[in-house]
């Protein structure tokens, strides 16, 4: 399959769900997509096209939460990123771990650092933060504030 065939295939298959399609360069394509169809997108990319799931990344965009699912197709040297936008007050999305085992840890990381709830994740607990980290405090959110009163934030020099 050539580059055009793959991109046209995605366009045809998810015509109703794609809100923006930006063909940035020869090696980089961003596709904005509705978060309800993310499981179908991943099934299509892995099984039909044969892409490799690279990584997912989460961003707090202040008005909404963004998750980008990056796929690599090595045969034609391209990275395709699917961007989903979800409600910031109640961030919930279907987990892709039942489809891709490798997405388990990145979803756990996004859960603890950004507070995104992944529905259907088999083991949604802390990955990187310490055990005594308080519940409901998410350090990578834009409105994060210092919660630890014992923390020292000066170098001891006047």
């Amino acid at each position: 399959m050539k580059r055009e065939d793959i991109l046209n295939g995605i366009k045809d298959r998810f015509e109703d769900s794609i809100t923006e399609f930006s063909d940035r360069s020869k090696k980089r394509v961003y596709i904005d997509i509705d978060h309800k169809v993310i499981k179908d997108v991943i099934k299509y990319m892995i099984h039909d096209i044969g892409a490799r799931f690279n990584i997912a990344s989460g961003i707090d965009a202040r008005t909404e939460m963004e998750i980008l699912y990056h796929f690599t197709i090595e045969r034609i040297n391209i990275i395709i990123s699917f961007r989903v936008r979800i409600n910031r007050d109640k961030p919930e999305i279907d987990s892709i771990t039942p489809l891709i085992k490798g997405a388990e840890w990145i979803e756990r990381e996004m859960h603890e650092l950004l507070g995104i709830n992944f529905i259907g994740h088999p083991n949604l607990k802390k990955l990187l933060l310490s055990e005594d980290w308080p519940e409901g405090v998410y350090p990578l959110r834009a409105d994060y504030k210092e919660w630890d009163k014992d923390a020292i934030r000066d170098r001891g020099v006047k």
């Binding site: 990187l128 933060l129 310490s130 005594d132 980290w133 350090p139 994060y144 210092e146 630890d148 014992d150 923390a151 020292i152 934030r153 000066d154 170098r155 001891g156």
Partner: protein
């Protein structure tokens, strides 16, 4: 001088603890072992277990998850133990001072004897730091007599 202190000063064994560092200080510490700097001429050997150590060398900004583990390593160490903090991160957390995961510097968790500043410090500075600690102990023993 007791036989224990004499053995410690003659040949201090060094245990290396990385508390969430970027590996740059660790690489400089490994450079000390190479023939160019050769810390073995001071009798120093890098060893794999804290239970055999005389010197505890700490690198890296202290992360929240690492704090209980540092305390555990310090408790396991045989006394007397010299603690050497290497690099700006251990001393004052450097650029990670406002990080949510680095609440306190190393010397608020365990007592530190020698500070080696730098990002990363040169191998010469690390060797000078450890030898200074040895001299300090030697002098304090002489004064007692």
């Amino acid at each position: 001088m007791s036989i224990k202190l004499k053995a410690l000063l003659k040949s201090p064994w060094v245990f290396h603890l990385s508390t969430g560092s970027c590996n740059n200080c660790d690489i400089e510490l490994l450079d000390c072992l190479t023939p160019r700097f050769d810390i073995e001429r001071f009798g120093m050997v890098l060893i794999g277990s804290i239970k055999h150590a005389d010197v505890l060398v700490c690198t890296g900004s202290v992360t929240r998850k690492c704090i209980p583990r540092i305390k555990e390593v310090y408790e396991l160490a045989p006394r007397p133990i010299i603690v050497v903090a290497i690099g700006e991160c251990s001393l004052s957390r450097g650029m990670f001072i406002d990080s949510y995961n680095c609440p306190v510097p190393l010397d608020k968790i365990i007592p530190v004897d020698v500070y080696v500043p730098g990002c990363p410090p040169k191998p010469e500075a690390i060797i000078a730091g450890v030898t200074k600690a040895i001299e300090k102990i030697r002098k304090s023993i002489k004064e007692k007599k």
